[in-house]
Symmetry: C2
Subunit: 375 residues, 2 copies
């Protein structure tokens, strides 16, 4: 039995199931981000109750705190964080480059300063494989080189080259039992480089493939155009992962273009800044207009926030910086994206994804769909 | 049927049931403190699941934020905060005096600066009654005058006098349907003043009585001596409330002396500062010795923290300032005190309170019992 099965398609959009050592992941799947072995503010049982089927853990952060030796000794990442469902771990590559403490990149690996204590550290493909093996994640990601948007073409080209060489090395390294390994294609929005990277990575036989180096600051239309032609170049019979998208419209945009899995810190980050994702668009709960608003955030939502509490109460909590406000808004936002994604999956199965997407856009309104705050 | 029934006694210690408009409260009862209409970090369903039967709300804070008009319009405090069990509201007196922005006290009431915006505000017994009526709490407390420990005897005497006059006025004011009203005796640790205050307050026919003005900085032995002789002077057929005690030994000390209800912010405050109450004493989870500790906080505890997570994971969360760490430690600490209190109740019913108390002291060790951190 293959680890990935497509159960329905609708245009380029796909519905399927990713089978992992810790359970099945219905796709399209939104992965809540548990950077430091916790999805901020949410107990694992809440994630499960809300319908999350997989969470993301962060190799970079866990490597430094608490240290992979600690997690390994305590029985692996699942046991450590109390989540027995599937976990995907990123490789740390994105943090190494985005945290901007890179000291040196060479053919062998990358040297950088830890964001925790400033000490020099070094990541190689072999280390990325070994750390993720010891964490015991269900899906390990390759260490890639991720240049920022607007990087010189020569830099992007070198990143493509090294990413492929590193992918070969990581694929040859030992993995945890049952662990899947995904390759990552780079190349920014440069058609030739992106195409070359996909060709190289796709030829190596990974269990799945990611489009990396997008959603890193480039023009959105250019990004979506790239996804539109690049995603179909990734092997159709393997899952496709778009790294780092979490606004409602963006999720539908990449699903429409053939992406199966995606992740983003957006819902919990918005939750911690008093903002709720709703069918009316984003609501800033600090706004005085909610002071006496007896309605839930969203009439149709069944999350712990909407189930019982008024906007007025949530506003009170966030203006008073009460922990429960952050918890409830984080829960609501994660649930909103999980529900949105489940709706997309169901629409694909019915062959009505286009109608679903239009309906969402109409409900959200153009401004809200583009991620604008409506209050 | 009376609202308070004593079901067992053991020495001066009592087990009973306080009946309120929103349900029964088995006593002795520890009340988690929901200052601003939320027990910090804990969803009401968690409080219920942990065995909390009553929570405390804070008139002072709710009066200013979000305002009693908002809470009233949204259906009262129970509905506002999503807790359908009993709620006791303090009168705001303690905050008016302890927040130290008092401008003037006269026979009619107290003028002070709001801690929120510095604007002058005024509380009177009639206002305290009216606010608590509109909040719709199950138990309303009288506005009292609470001098700090070490206040001149003349000040304590005047506080006793005004507290009695205010109690008469508040008792005459309208209350919410089914609302119980408790009087508060002042007098510090001065035998004559305390005795006089108890005599005056107890003569007025309140539904319950509190010892206020203790645990405000005075010597602990003097405080306990006062409780020992003062509690029995409060009407035996009415519940007795000790305001502001929450360390394990302190709880057992006041229960032993005939107190039925008590409250404290300690468990959630400790939780937010990475400290756990356990049968080994207080554990500071930031301590490096927990880095690889696979044990739960407490082997016998069934809370969400102990159910699944290791001390090593909790240490990781608190050192990384993760929300989930604060939530789990707050839950554990509240549960610890609820369990301790439930154990005391059960021991009183068996006539074994003395043995229970000794057992707790022995397990906790003298240092731990006295509230010292053991790590």
């Amino acid at each position: 039995m293959t680890h990935f099965e497509i159960t329905a398609t609708d245009g380029a959009a796909r519905a399927g199931v990713l089978r992992t050592a810790h359970g099945d992941v219905p796709t399209p799947a939104f992965m809540p981000v548990g950077t430091k072995a916790t999805v901020k503010g949410l107990h694992p049982d809440r994630l499960r109750a809300m319908g999350a089927s997989i969470v993301l853990g962060n190799t970079y952060h866990l490597f430094f705190r608490p240290g992979v030796d600690v997690i390994e000794e305590l029985g692996g990442l699942h046991r450590f964080m109390g989540w027995d469902g599937p976990i995907l771990t990123d490789s740390g590559g994105f943090q190494v480059f985005s945290l901007r403490h890179t000291l040196d990149v060479d053919d062998d690996g990358v040297t950088f300063r830890s964001v925790y204590d400033g000490d020099p550290a070094r990541f190689t493909p072999e280390l990325a494989a070994d750390v993720q093996r010891r964490l015991g994640s269900d899906v390990a990601m390759c260490l890639d080189l991720c240049p920022p948007a607007g990087a010189p073409r020569a830099d992007v080209g070198l990143a493509v080259e090294r990413t492929a060489a590193w992918a070969r090395r990581q694929l040859a390294a030992p993995r945890a039992e049952g662990q899947l390994v995904f390759g990552i294609a780079q190349g920014g929005i440069d058609p030739e480089l992106r195409r070359r990277s996909i060709g190289e990575i796709a030829s190596l036989g990974f269990d799945g493939h990611a489009l990396g180096g997008l959603s890193v600051g480039e023009d959105r239309d250019a990004m979506l155009d790239t996804v539109a032609w690049a995603a179909p170049l990734l092997p159709a019979e393997r899952p496709r992962y778009f790294m780092g998208i979490g606004d409602p419209l963006g999720i539908l945009d990449v699903v429409e273009r053939g992406i199966d899995i995606f992740d983003c810190v957006l819902p919990t980050r918005l939750g911690r800044t008093a903002t709720a994702l709703t069918w009316e668009g984003r609501l800033n709960l600090k706004n005085a207009r909610f002071r006496r608003d007896a309605r839930p955030l969203d009439e149709e939502c069944g999350c712990l926030a909407c189930d019982r509490f008024s906007r007025a109460y949530l506003r009170h909590l966030v203006t008073q910086q009460e922990l429960l406000g952050l918890i409830l808004l984080s829960e609501h936002n994660v649930r909103f994206l999980l529900d949105l994604t489940a709706g997309a999956r169901s629409a694909i199965e019915r062959g009505e994804f286009g109608r679903y997407r239009s309906g969402v856009l109409e409900r959200l309104g153009a401004e809200a769909a583009a991620g604008q705050e409506v209050t």
